[in-house]
Symmetry: C2
Subunit: 337 residues, 2 copies
């Protein structure tokens, strides 16, 4: 695939960017990318689920400033902002982790609604551009595959996932309203499952869980049949797609994710292979959350067409980097070549 370089170079002036959720998995990688592109970044986080360690390497960087604050409260920034990216939200669906959104329901609803309202208000006041980090969860438990952006979704408004799904759906509706009514230049990215270094090891998501179990030599725990599929995108691919979207003129939602579907079971087997874990897998026939979607796969036609984007990193390559990161975090010796 030929990447049209011009797309990412149309607006190369230095911008002052406010990034909410800067200490999160995606937020911190995006922060690095924005700084690498020469921009100045104010990173906002309240560390409810964000990890200060993800930003530690930016200490002393004159182009970065940390603002420890809840995005749901009024945000005061005196310098003129050029761009606001709203990434702050709990994002793990795991009810057994205290960091999963089922255990942070009101914080999650507030980050999606009040946080988006505050961020959009700031964008309007500063005449800044705005990008909303939305999610494949707006499709819920989808009845069509793969999911294109014009699919309306299948979400239970009062189910255990509703605190995240409905907050993000509301955030999309509010973003569109600010675009339509106030003329704010807005963007909406629907992010599918992503993995890579800096995912929290303790928030119960499948990739860090599997890798940690494999590194401990334990069997990998699969909830449900293991036949449910996910489409896992490596984080650098995702950040590239987001950066292209934020520099584009597209205001309608764009899926960013890897369309290669893998069953949870196959994924577990690959991780065991890469970690040289002989312990195999065990299956628990209890769903982690009441309405765990059975399939989730992005249709990335719009991302391909509008942004010239598609994933570049092979899953095994991405996993090897993530496994190395996890070994390091766990204080294990580096992998033998």
């Amino acid at each position: 695939m030929i990447i049209p370089e011009t797309l990412v170079k149309t607006e190369r002036q230095v911008m002052l960017i406010l990034l909410t959720g800067a200490a999160g998995f995606l937020g911190s990688h995006l922060c690095d990318r924005l700084l690498a592109e020469g921009h100045k970044v104010i990173g906002l986080d309240n560390f409810v689920t964000g990890n200060p360690e993800n930003l530690k390497h930016l200490e002393g960087n004159p182009n970065f400033r940390l603002m420890v604050q809840d995005v749901s409260a009024f945000i005061q920034v005196d310098e003129p902002l050029d761009y606001i990216l709203h990434f702050a939200s709990p994002a793990s669906p795991n009810p057994t982790s205290p960091l999963g959104y089922p255990n942070l329901p009101i914080q999650t609803l507030k980050a999606g609604a009040l946080g988006t309202y505050n961020s959009l208000g700031l964008a309007k006041a500063h005449k800044a551009r705005f990008l909303l980090a939305s999610t494949s969860e707006v499709y819920g438990d989808p009845t069509v595959h793969p999911q294109s952006e014009d699919y309306w979704g299948n979400c239970d408004p009062i189910g255990p996932r509703s605190v995240y799904d409905e907050a993000k759906r509301f955030a999309e509706a509010l973003t569109m309203a600010y675009h339509n009514v106030h003329g704010v230049r807005t963007h909406i990215v629907r992010i599918f499952n992503t993995f890579g270094p800096r995912m929290r090891l303790d928030d119960g998501r499948v990739v860090p869980n599997f890798i940690q179990q494999a590194l401990r030599g334990e069997p990998l725990t699969i909830y449900g049949t293991g036949e449910q599929t996910r489409s896992f995108c490596y984080v650098s691919d995702l950040i590239e797609g987001i950066y292209r979207l934020m520099m584009s003129d597209e205001h309608l939602p764009v899926n960013i994710g890897n369309p290669i579907e893998t069953s949870i079971k196959d994924f577990a087997l690959i991780i065991n292979e890469l970690c040289q874990n002989p312990a195999g897998i065990i299956t628990q026939y209890a769903d982690t959350l009441g309405d765990d979607p059975q399939r989730r796969q992005p249709d990335i036609t719009r991302a391909r067409t509008i942004l010239g984007w598609e994933p570049q990193v092979a899953m095994r390559d991405g996993l090897n980097i993530t496994i190395d990161y996890t070994r390091q975090k766990l204080g294990l010796p580096a992998r033998q070549a």
Copy 2:
């Protein structure tokens, strides 16, 4: 049907009730009902779509106090509240009326999200009970008929109706979260199409539009084929259902509406007959809003079972009362018997 009288008499002590959207069509009828039951009511409204005339008859009533305020801003009430009912929101989907929610998108999103957040916060602070006025619009353009409460809906998160639908879905999710996390005693009513006196004549909804056209001797304008159905509930039936729900212990959503389905075309013909309007109907093959639902019909099994409720008023009886009200509002002479 036997109405279990005990259901509505279990909590007969005088309550101090805050009712948001008190000057609206439903709000003002509910206000009258609450006062008739002996309660004291603080009616909150900012008159964006509410009509001061709907509350004029309560001037001087010692049990009623008007509070002119936006529900999206912080609400201060010093007296201890027993109950909060959140009814404030634009509710007409008509894009040709300045009072339709497509023309008040941000106000609508705020009333649903920030208004619900404020009202729930107040309920928590006062240890008061809470009832959310939700809507059949959470079902969107439904793919199953009739709609029972466990149907997840079919809503476009970024479509023209999203400012209302997604705000109400978010409001339901937030209400459930306050119930689950903070133990607030909450109730959620999903209100289907309702008609009766005090509907605004100028907000573009189908019943007042049809009646006004019929009274002017004009042909009734039908958008689309006219085959799309609605289930119209007379307002006194609806208020009875809401009152029963608010006095019940049910915290999961309950549909309140009339399950008798009528096509828009048949409905127009009945109104012409009752108004003795010979001008007939005309059909405009342009939808009023992009995603006008084709069918909407409540399954009221839960309301029947839990609340012992079902509609009592025949459509023609309700329409005659509404026609008389409209004649009076338009300064027309009373109908000949």
